[in-house]
């Protein structure tokens, strides 16, 4: 199709799809009215059954823990695929250095930027870890905290440069850690299957609601998720940073 023909067809069929979808949406319950028994029941039961104040975490890591396990492996597969495509390719074709500076022209990275960067990195890690380890008490968890924490790798690269990234977040070494995080989740499932007769069923003492060591298996699973998400995103950042690597810069890069 010519671009014009495609544009016309896309506009017409997009409009048609919009109408079809809206025909269904028109029969949705009014906005702000939630009828379903599922969520209501979880809201009622989670604090009692799991001694957990955060019902979302209870769904994520217990009631629908299998979904989360699947999502963990989606992350795992996507990161593995990305690494495969980028790294193999760099090895095969682009060993020669590229001519000019990349995302971070080192000349214009002043001391002030470095200082802000370091502060930002510290705050990011602190906040991320805090969010990651308290999912059973407050909003947060391995996914949210993990993505925030991994932002430190991006900040190192942006504020300090390529070499510090390689030194403080060596992503080739975090890959096995990512796999371990993913495997950990499944192993918890297998262990609980052996101990309690159902995959991912809780078999640890629940403790008192609101305490750090409470809610049984949830903190364990959360830790696996956090490890995997941090490691996974560090790999993503590292791989893309590698793409903008130019040897000219590597020579002149200053350690912080």
């Amino acid at each position: 199709m010519s671009p014009r023909a495609r544009g016309v067809l896309a506009a017409i069929s997009g409009l048609a799809l919009l109408l079809v979808v809206l025909a269904g949406f028109a029969k949705l319950p009014d906005f702000g009215v939630y009828l379903g028994p599922y969520g209501t029941l979880v809201d009622e039961l989670a604090p009692i059954q799991r001694k957990i104040p955060n019902a979302i975490t209870a769904v994520n890591f217990d009631y629908r823990g299998l979904d989360t396990m699947g999502e963990e492996f989606i992350l795992f597969a996507a990161v593995a695929g990305l690494t495969l495509v980028l790294r193999k390719d760099r090895r095969d074709t682009t060993d020669a250095p590229l001519p000019s500076a990349g995302l971070r022209g080192r000349a214009d990275r002043s001391d002030a930027i470095r200082a802000f960067g370091l502060a930002g990195i510290a705050v990011t890690i602190a906040f991320g870890v805090y969010v990651a380890i308290h999912p059973h008490l407050t909003p947060g968890g391995g996914f949210q905290g993990g993505t925030i924490t991994s932002g430190f790798a991006a900040l190192i690269f942006l504020a300090l440069g390529y070499r510090p990234l390689k030194r403080y977040a060596p992503h080739q070494r975090t890959e096995p850690i990512e796999a371990i995080g993913a495997a950990g989740y499944v192993l918890v499932g297998v262990a609980t299957l052996a101990a309690a007769g159902a995959f991912l069923a809780n078999c640890l003492p629940l403790g008192a609601s609101g305490e750090f060591f409470s809610t049984g298996t949830i903190p364990v699973i959360n830790l696996c998720v956090a490890v995997e998400v941090v490691a996974g995103f560090v790999v993503v950042f590292g791989e893309f940073a590698d793409e903008t690597r130019f040897e000219v810069d590597d020579e002149a890069e200053v350690e912080p």
């Binding site: 997009g14 939630y34 604090p47 979904d67 609101g210």
Partner: protein, 114 residues
């Protein structure tokens, strides 16, 4: 007529599709795909929303305040992270294609015709 807010996710979904269909740059196309996906988050969270309710995080166990649906939030939460990694995977593909062909205009990439 309180279903009118649902026009928003439907619109985002379709405009994202339109952007993909008419895209002339793979990175643009991938970001449009990501916009299309975000329509599903909005839709799902709107469905679980209840007027006047709080987030389903109870500071005290015997809370009587109504809360929104935790299931939809759990579902969306993991999906966002996954969406991000898939986007990253697609960007890696686009980059690889660029390195070979020197172009990322879908119109110029027709080696698979047939």
């Amino acid at each position: 007529m309180s279903w009118l807010p649902y026009i928003v996710p439907a619109w985002i979904f379709v405009i994202g599709l339109y952007g993909m269909a008419t895209s002339r740059h793979l990175v643009h196309l991938i970001l449009c795909l990501s916009v299309t996906q975000s329509a599903t988050y909005v839709l799902i969270l709107m469905i679980g929303y209840r007027t006047g309710a709080t987030a389903p995080v109870f500071s005290d166990v015997l809370s009587t305040v109504r809360a929104t649906d935790p299931v939809v939030q759990a579902v969306t939460l993991t999906d966002i992270v996954v969406g991000a990694t898939v986007t990253a995977l697609l960007l890696a593909f686009a980059l690889r294609i660029y390195k070979t062909y020197g172009t990322v205009d879908p119109q110029d990439l027709r080696t698979m015709q047939g």
